[in-house]
Symmetry: C3
Subunit: 109 residues, 3 copies
């Protein structure tokens, strides 16, 4: 048995849990906060059989991979600046920190 402790971004959590549940994995969600940016994120506890750990790590990496998202910057409200339309910008999103820890004993009550 392994316990996977994954710190993921809030915007990826719902999709990640959906994929895990569909595949029959079990997970517990804890609200957390990043030490550096002080922004809310999520810590997942996922207990799996030894031979499932690699699959779950791949799922987390796939759903939560760092990527850039194109967002249209908030255009200035009001008088146009000579019809200036700001071009969309790319911002980094996603990312995850994944720890795999050995479980000496697992019990279901």
């Amino acid at each position: 048995m392994k316990l996977i402790i994954a710190v993921v971004q809030d915007q990826d959590v719902d999709r990640l849990i959906d994929v895990l549940m569909e595949k029959g994995y079990r997970a517990t969600k804890l609200a957390s906060t990043g030490g550096f940016l002080k922004a809310g994120n999520t810590t997942l506890l996922i207990g799996v059989d030894d031979n499932q750990a690699d699959d779950v790590v791949d799922i987390v990496k796939d759903v939560c991979k760092s990527r850039t998202q194109v967002v249209a910057p908030l255009t200035a409200v009001g008088r146009s600046m000579n019809n200036y339309v700001p071009s969309p910008i790319e911002v980094p999103v996603g990312g995850a920190a994944i720890f795999v820890v050995n479980v000496e004993r697992f019990e279901k009550a």
Copy 2:
């Protein structure tokens, strides 16, 4: 030293902590959510000496064991249905997922 990580149902937590405290065990409580039912539950961290781990696992299993609870269904309010009284039903409650992890080093500040 072992760290016991137990995910338990909210209705069992107070009794479980009472029993653990009475026996002199130490515990920390974290609010959590089930991945599947999306309902609130509780994750407990219980750091114990190696030779106490089995005792604590037994306590968690005993207090949180899956069982059925007899509940009287909400009877329809208002006009009686020819004096029909629904018989009580059994619903499953309790349960716990218990992970025992090895602690390489423990310090108290």
Copy 3:
């Protein structure tokens, strides 16, 4: 890789995270509750390279060490009791429980 799980008092958390971030360490914060006093405290997850674990444990012990704080008791409001001024009292604060756990595999997505 080691995962340090530290349960610390709320009044030490901000200073502790500042020191950890300044030194380039990574940390995730989880709100928690003490099992015995039922007071809010904080659980930190700090994933570090093997050779950094001792340094981080020292930082936590240094910032969170149990100490006494001198506080002036709330003086009675109103008519003075023959100019009686209660002398300050010492109350215990701080403290931390620090668990170092081995990480079999660490991945960044």
